[in-house]
């Protein structure tokens, strides 16, 4: 079938303004939007720029706004995005666009780094691995699935208007360690998220939960951090 892909192109070396450009490609209904983008880049217009690495929904490189919703192009099938109409593809919102569908992810990673997304421990290291019961592991299982694709953070209306907010992903990253029984940095992380730009800026619009390609219950994780802050000590 013939599919029209409408892409928001931007090249600062040519023009300051972004503009929509449409491309006709032939695709199977079971092809992914990424395949259509490949066809555009490989056969029609080699100047089209987008990120993708594994192309199988694991690396989180190709988050983009497809038909107005944040999704991974490699996990979205053509038949699911109403191919009878032109399919619109834009860069994710809230981060500076560098070219076409490529955005500057640094502010996003900065927020992630600031919640200390690594195991904090004290005392002597055990000779073997740090053991944990299955129930303790289960507690934060959902938030271990994050692939840092930024689909949640860039779907958040608070993040759109104020990039100072940590954003859903950073809170998910913190949640993964806050509720890990082996970790000892909980107090520091909670203190960071108790900030004016922390969890209290969440308005529970559930955009993040809807956007997450891994099905993480992002809003729930944020509320759990809020609860942990209220009932700590």
């Amino acid at each position: 079938m013939d599919v029209t892909v409408k892409i928001l192109r931007y090249n600062p070396e040519v023009s300051e303004d972004a503009s929509w450009e449409s491309y006709q490609v032939s695709a199977e209904p079971t092809d992914r939007v990424l395949d259509a983008l490949h066809k555009v880049k490989w056969d029609l217009d080699g100047s089209l720029t987008f990120r993708r690495s594994c192309a199988h929904g694991v690396c989180g490189s190709d988050a983009m706004r497809i038909n107005g919703k944040n999704r991974l192009a490699c996990k979205t099938l053509i038949k699911d995005v109403n191919p009878s109409q032109p399919i619109s593809v834009e860069p994710i919102k809230g981060l500076p666009v560098l070219k076409d569908l490529v955005v500057d992810m640094e502010p996003f990673f900065d927020a992630y780094r600031s919640v200390m997304p690594f195991l904090v421990t004290s005392g002597n290291e055990p000779t073997r691995e740090r053991l944990q019961s299955q129930t303790d592991r289960e507690r934060f299982d959902d938030t271990t699935k994050c692939i840092l694709c930024a689909a949640c953070t860039t779907s958040c209306p608070v993040y759109w208007t104020d990039g100072q907010y940590f954003g859903p992903q950073a809170i998910v990253g913190a949640h993964r360690f806050i509720f890990d029984s082996r970790d000892e940095g909980t107090d520091q992380r909670l203190e960071i998220l108790n900030d004016k730009e922390g969890v209290w800026r969440c308005r529970t619009t559930f955009n993040c939960t809807e956007a997450c390609p891994r099905g993480i219950e992002v809003t729930k994780a944020i509320q759990e951090v809020k609860r942990a802050l209220i009932f700590r000590r």
């Binding site: 780094r113 600031s114 919640v115 104020d162 004016k196």
Partner: protein, 145 residues
């Protein structure tokens, strides 16, 4: 201890003065919201439904209600909670949507000023209310004096 020491990852987060202001204001919104549901529905029930309903509301009705400390406290709680709840809601909206520092400051100053004036005037009215302010009043409390 391991032999190699790895420096802490670079972090751009600048820890400000730690306080629980945002947490407390979040909790206040939940608490005051619940209380206001009870207070406002009670207020509407007594004023608009009980007795003669809306027809009964006049100066005498208000004077009668505020003769009792129960309704004074009820209305005072309603005034303070509603004003602070609304102010805090608007404060978060300004934080969310006003991106320029100057705009934020101006809007918040106006907001705090309006809230302050309303709360002070309202409290003053509740506590200094005089049912006999009109010398020709025919209310029972005034004619018996």
């Amino acid at each position: 201890m391991s032999l190699t020491s790895i420096p802490k990852p670079r972090s751009t987060y600048k820890a400000g003065r730690s306080n629980n202001f945002e947490m407390n204001s979040w909790l206040f919104m939940r608490g005051s919201g619940l209380l206001l549901v009870v207070l406002v529905i009670g207020h509407l029930f007594v004023n608009l439904w009980q007795g003669d309903g809306i027809q009964q509301i006049d100066f005498a009705f208000v004077a009668g209600k505020w003769a009792s400390p129960f309704w004074q406290i009820w209305d005072l709680a309603m005034l303070w909670l509603a004003m602070l709840h609304g102010m805090n809601g608007l404060r978060t909206i300004i934080n969310d949507y006003a991106s320029r520092g100057g705009t934020k400051f101006t809007l918040k100053t106006l907001l705090y000023f309006a809230t302050f004036v309303t709360v002070v005037l309202g409290t003053l009215v509740i506590f200094t209310f005089d049912p006999c302010i009109d010398p020709a009043s025919t209310l029972e409390v005034c004619t018996n004096r």
